[in-house]
Amino acid sequence: MSEQNPQQGTETLTLAKAITRALHDEMAANRKVLALGEDIGKLGGVYRVTEGLQKTFGPTRIMDTPLGEAGIIGTSIGMALRGYRPVPEIQFDGFVFPGFNQITSQLAKMHGRTHGQYQVSVTVRIPYGGMIGSVEHHSESPEALFTHTPGLRVVTPSSPHDAYWMLRKAIAHPDPVIYFEPKRRYWMKGEVNFEDTDFDPFTAQVVREGDDLTIATYGPLVPVALAAAQAAVEDGQSIEVIDLRSLSPLDIPTIEASIQKTGRLVVAHEAPTFGGIGSDIAAAITERCFYHLEAPVIRVGGYHMPYPVSRIEEEYVPGIDRLLEAVDRSLAY
């Protein structure tokens, strides 16, 4: 954690600007924090998340790199071994795979392989998810590939406040963190409390209380789940919504406590359901809450196919209606 918090009070920011501010504040607090990636310097990144930072911190701390994801991640590992805290940016979710070997076979294992002699504090920022009307490889949700890899932590914010604190805590953390940014929520505004220094990025949060059923989700689908819960009020249904926030470690106790109250669980994400985080949550809750469950855990997610072309993406990504259909199925038991 940084020594000082340069900000005070609260401020309303977009999620993208909350990330910019977090990076700025952590870089200001620690000389060894630096960011690198494609076009992040003068341009400020394709989503302008790093806009203005190079002017403040110079080109050796906000580094425009040659185009090579393995190079970006691999050199970040080397810099971390030297004692730096690099924050590499991957331009889009589907572009992470050329750097996947370095993340999963190297970054994740370095602390263990060196018998704890080295910490590799690398925070990999990856904009992810769909519904931005883009082309192939620009709308994927590969988070389960990283949560399946021991040694990595995986987090994703759904609000500007969480985005700010989650990134600061990730950068300051001794473990490597994959920080997934819900790109379709970059322009969503919210209040950031700069004094929430005790924020724990590895816990889930109940973002709406309810009694009849729990929806657990994260990142871009949190507003969808909240809207579904609101719509369900008309049918007399009281739905609790959990924002998981951290996908590894997963805060199972928070979900468990909710299920003990509601007895029903729907897990939702944009990623394909097969082999996804939802499957793990369903299994964990079945193991732990079998006698509390009134219905099977239902997963709502992407289909088992590559992310479709953008003009039909609404059929792929879960929306309010697919969540409500799952709610009805659960309540029918």
Partner: protein, 391 residues
């Protein structure tokens, strides 16, 4: 398209640096002899000792693997000159990223044979103190370490920037050497083989190193085989030629010639330390044994390879030189034989007694800070084992 078996290179090939021929006879070189002249007779004998230990240790580890005492062994036979002489040319505070066959580099750096064994015994993943020796862990995924080295070297440049701003020398995560006492500006050396240079990570390493003028030496041991694939299939041109494409110097050196390897590495490190950015050295050597103990080179190698390459053996060459110049006699070589025999005896007993740390130690190390899923697994592991105790 057919594979090019007899490559030609119209763009020019770096001179092959050789200071000592196969008979152990030396020839002066206008650019490189001065570096080799730094080596005294004692230095050369000391290097011979380390090379001999590397070989004897390697043979012993091969035997231990055949006896079922090791999971795997990666022989370095034939590459002792390339490894020991290059490591000898580095400064103590230069940080080394080895591949998985660089036992001579490690021994030259003061790491003991015993400390090399846990990875291959299956009882640990890193047996030495990386920070004390400035030598990172072995890397088994090909070429991954080449990018780490480049990043580490970029970090050294960032260190220099911070030092210029604050006046404080940087130590990163901690090194055994005190940066305020460094006689030489630290740099990085990374080792890989000819097979590794096919990997995209090497390409990206060289692009990044050039882009950021990183103080890194890429030391490629071309042992002519990527398991079963000969160099003639791997590359149309000597690997040293490729450096020009990235915009830095590539040197080609007889990798079985200790004098040439030492001189080329000293030259390269001097250049790197002055801030001229990376250098690539291709040390042309030969893998006399298999790729690993899981390999069987009789299935793919020409039968006459022994007759062709064994006379080029770096050990024989240095022995011939030391004898012909009167620096060493039978007594010296007898002493070396006794020394290496004694050393490997202790390695054998160490390996046979070597056991892994507890299972939970590996759970502890998966993360630097507590992680809920690891703690859940730990609870299960304990409960499961406690159940047996109750029975």
């Amino acid at each position: 398209m057919s594979q090019t078996q007899n490559p030609t290179n119209p763009w020019g090939t770096p001179e092959r640096i050789q200071l000592m021929n196969e008979a152990g006879e030396t020839t002066p070189h206008t650019s490189f002899s001065a570096y080799a002249d730094e080596l005294t007779g004692e230095d050369l004998k000391d290097m011979y000792r380390t090379m001999a230990l590397t070989r004897r240790f390697c043979d012993e580890m091969t035997s231990l693997q055949r006896q079922g005492q090791l999971a795997l062994w990666v022989p370095s036979r034939g590459q002792e000159a390339a490894q020991v002489a290059s490591a000898r040319a580095l400064a103590a505070n230069d940080y080394i990223f080895p591949s998985y066959r660089d036992h001579g580099v490690l021994l030259e750096r003061g790491i003991t044979p015993e400390e090399i064994t846990p990875l291959f015994r299956g009882s640990g993943t890193l047996g030495w103190d990386a920070k004390k020796h400035n030598v990172h862990s072995y890397t088994l995924v090909l070429a991954a370490q080449v990018l780490h080295a480049t990043g580490y070297a970029m970090g050294l440049n960032l260190d220099a920037e911070i030092e210029a701003e604050t006046g404080e020398a940087q130590t990163g995560q901690g090194q055994a050497t005190d940066p305020t006492q460094d006689p030489d500006k630290p740099a990085v050396a990374v080792y890989c083989g000819d097979g590794s240079t096919t990997e995209g990570d090497v390409h990206e390493s060289m692009v990044f190193a050039a882009s950021y003028n990183a103080p890194v030496l890429f030391f490629v041991q071309n042992n002519h085989w990527a398991i079963s694939v000969p160099f003639s299939v791997q590359s149309r041109v000597p690997i040293s030629t490729r450096a020009a494409g990235y915009g830095f110097e590539g040197l080609r050196v007889d990798g079985n010639d200790v004098l040439a390897v030492y001189a080329a590495t000293r030259y390269a490190m001097d250049k790197i330390r002055t801030g001229e950015g990376p250098v690539l050295i291709e040390a042309e050597t030969y893998r006399l044994g298999p790729h690993t103990t899981a390999d069987d080179p009789t299935k793919y190698r020409p039968e006459d390879h022994g007759a062709t390459y064994e006379p080029l053996d770096p050990m024989l060459r240095l022995e011939a030189y030391l004898r012909s110049t009167g620096q060493a006699d039978d007594a010296f070589f007898d002493d070396i034989a006794a020394y290496t025999k004694e050393q490997v005896k202790s390695v054998r007993s160490y390996v046979l007694a070597s056991e892994p740390e507890t299972f939970e130690t590996y759970l502890d190390r998966a993360y630097a800070a507590p992680h809920q899923q690891v703690e859940d697994d730990r609870s299960f592991y304990r409960a499961y084992n406690d159940g047996f105790e109750e029975d």
